[in-house]
């Protein structure tokens, strides 16, 4: 049974302790984290290095047992195995048997996934074509570049046509073209109705493809929500460049509206809050000034991410 009609992944109060050495002392790397991933969305799991992203993903993949709490995928406890025929996984910097060819490694994973011999070959060929490796299908993996290995990793994650795909740093080590191709592939997966869980620290990728995000910092979830709502949490500002703006009007706008004034040649640039844009424009135009440009500033995920992580760090110090 699924915990919620639209929830594909549910992590509830998961804690993980590791013993750093042979001693009894334990180090807590996940502090009772909870979040959910909805059906058909691209979910970004974001955090700085060492925050607990990969540990969380390993808990979900059954590679690590949580010390306490529960994690489920498609309503099944992650310690079960049968439901994994509906789950695909790409680990960070994947390594494969280098003595196998691209075609052989995908056939191997297809066999493990329970694909019948009849349709196996066709599925492997389709995937090789999809990830752009048809030309290298018979080359040994030891001759593959990092980007090609990443494509093999994505192909093996999709070989059994799963409905939910977990990707750990999928753009890692790829050139701009490769990153664009992987982004397109992720978007295509969503269009096909699949759910994608993406672990990453590349925020620009998250902004471009994710529907919702969770931010993890030092083993704690510090934010979870829709990406648009997340970007709205910061105050937006707009840059307006005026021509023929009288100095006394500019100073008045600076004082009354809290605008930041900056001369640009014979023009004046005012940085104003989004809510003050209309009134500043009316006042300036009424004084005979002309508008040269209006540039709204979107709050970047990076700035919100940094402030969320820093706020968590400050709270921890207290």
């Amino acid at each position: 049974m699924r915990s919620s009609a639209s929830e594909i992944v549910r992590v509830s109060e998961v804690t993980k302790d590791f013993r750093p050495g042979l001693g009894l002392r334990r180090k807590r790397v996940l502090h009772g984290i909870s979040f959910g991933v909805r059906e058909g969305e691209i979910f970004g799991f974001v955090g700085p290095n060492g925050a607990g992203k990969t540990t969380t993903l390993k808990v979900l993949m059954g590679l690590i047992r949580p010390t306490s709490g529960q994690a489920s995928i498609l309503g099944h406890d992650v310690r079960e195995t049968a439901f994994r025929r509906h789950v695909g996984f790409l680990p960070e910097n994947p390594y494969f048997y280098e003595y196998l060819t691209g075609r052989e490694i995908l056939t191997f994973y297809a066999r493990l996934s329970g694909l019948l011999r009849a349709g196996r070959g066709e599925r492997v060929e389709t995937l090789l074509d999809q990830v752009g490796l048809s030309h290298a299908a018979d080359a040994r993996l030891r001759t593959y570049s990092k980007g090609m290995l990443q494509r093999v990793g994505i192909a093996q994650a999709l070989v059994h046509d799963p409905c939910v795909v977990f990707l750990d740093e999928p753009m890692s080590g790829l050139d701009p073209i490769g990153r664009k191709e992987i982004r397109d592939l992720i978007l295509r997966l969503r269009a096909e109705g699949k759910t994608v869980f993406m672990n990453t620290h590349i925020l620009s990728d998250v902004e471009l493809v994710c529907d919702r995000v969770a931010i993890i910092a030092r083993g704690r979830i510090v934010h979870e929500g829709a990406i648009d709502a997340f970007l709205d949490t910061g105050e937006r500002e707009t840059d307006i460049v005026f021509g023929q703006l009288a100095p006394e009007v500019a100073i008045a706008l600076e004082e009354q509206r809290g605008a930041q004034l900056r001369p640009v040649g014979d023009r004046v640039e005012l940085r104003v809050r989004e809510k003050d844009v209309d009134s500043v424009l009316q006042a300036a135009l009424a004084s005979g000034a002309s508008v040269v440009s209006i540039t709204p500033h979107r709050v970047s995920l990076e700035s919100v991410f940094l402030s969320a992580v820093q706020a968590d760090a400050r709270e921890d110090v207290r």
Partner: protein, 262 residues
């Protein structure tokens, strides 16, 4: 339709890949080469003696098969699971609908098949050298090789058990040590009984019960001397070996199931 069940097919995929990986090992071929050379060198050693040339030839042959068979089982076997974890190939494999038990048993099956292939090559070399030297060959020799195959499977099971939770070096050390002790447990029990000390006899009897009694798999003396081999001399060690393998592999699975792949 395939005759194998889904778990069987998955284990077969792991096993066949394990064989493919194992036969790429240069160490394996080096050990095999030395084994065949030693079997052939039996001809020279037997020539040094005026009496019992055939016995010396075949004693050396069986010793070479046992020693190098165990060496292959240990040195090729102990690293395979550790390598899967170290290189993180286990991450993608275990993300498929494959249980950890299936993975471990698949690796074990692949290793046993690899070791048995090497044993078959050594046995062929042994038979060829014996035939060329005119030494007798019979059912006893086949039985001795059969039980040696069971012993090697048990050594692989022990190596798999240790490699489920420790490094290749320690696995080789523990499994190799256990093989040495396992060849002495029967003598140890007899020494304990001969001591007439109830405490000592009890301890040595328990050591013999708990640790593998590998001497029970050794029919080389009967084979070389042409002594009669009763059916029970074959099926009792066979049943014992299979049961011991099952117990060791269950232990390995239990440990492997609880392991965190960090």
């Amino acid at each position: 339709m395939s005759a194998l069940t889904a778990p069987g097919q998955r284990m077969l995929a792991i096993a066949s890949n394990t064989v493919r990986e194992a036969v790429r090992s240069r160490l394996l071929y080096t050990l095999l080469l030395f084994a065949v050379l030693l079997i052939c060198a039996g001809v020279l050693l037997s020539a040094l003696s005026y009496v019992e040339n055939d016995r010396i030839l075949q004693d050396v042959g069986f010793a070479a098969m046992r020693f190098f068979g165990v060496a292959i089982a240990l040195f090729v076997g102990v690293g395979l699971i550790h390598r899967e974890v170290e290189r993180r190939t286990v991450y993608t494999i275990l993300s498929k609908p494959l249980s950890r038990a299936e993975f471990l048993l698949g690796k074990f099956a692949g290793l046993v098949f690899t070791v048995w292939m090497q044993l078959a090559i050594m046995a062929l070399a042994f038979a060829a050298v014996s035939r060329v030297s005119g030494a007798p060959l019979g059912g006893g020799h086949a039985a001795a090789c059969g039980l040696l195959a069971v012993e090697l499977a048990l050594v692989v099971a022990i190596a798999t058990f240790f490699s489920a939770f420790t490094t290749p070096m320690l696995s080789a050390l523990f499994a190799g040590g256990l093989w040495l002790v396992g060849n002495l447990t029967r003598d140890l029990r007899e020494i304990g009984e001969a001591s007439h000390e109830p405490g000592v006899a009890l301890v040595t009897a328990w050591v013999h019960r708990l640790l593998p009694d590998l001497a029970s798999f050794n029919l080389s003396i009967e084979a070389v001397h042409g002594l009669p081999i009763a059916a029970s001399d074959l099926w009792l060690p066979l049943a014992y070996g299979v049961a011991y393998c099952v117990v060791v592999l269950v232990g390995a699975v239990v440990i492997f199931e609880r392991r965190d792949f960090r």
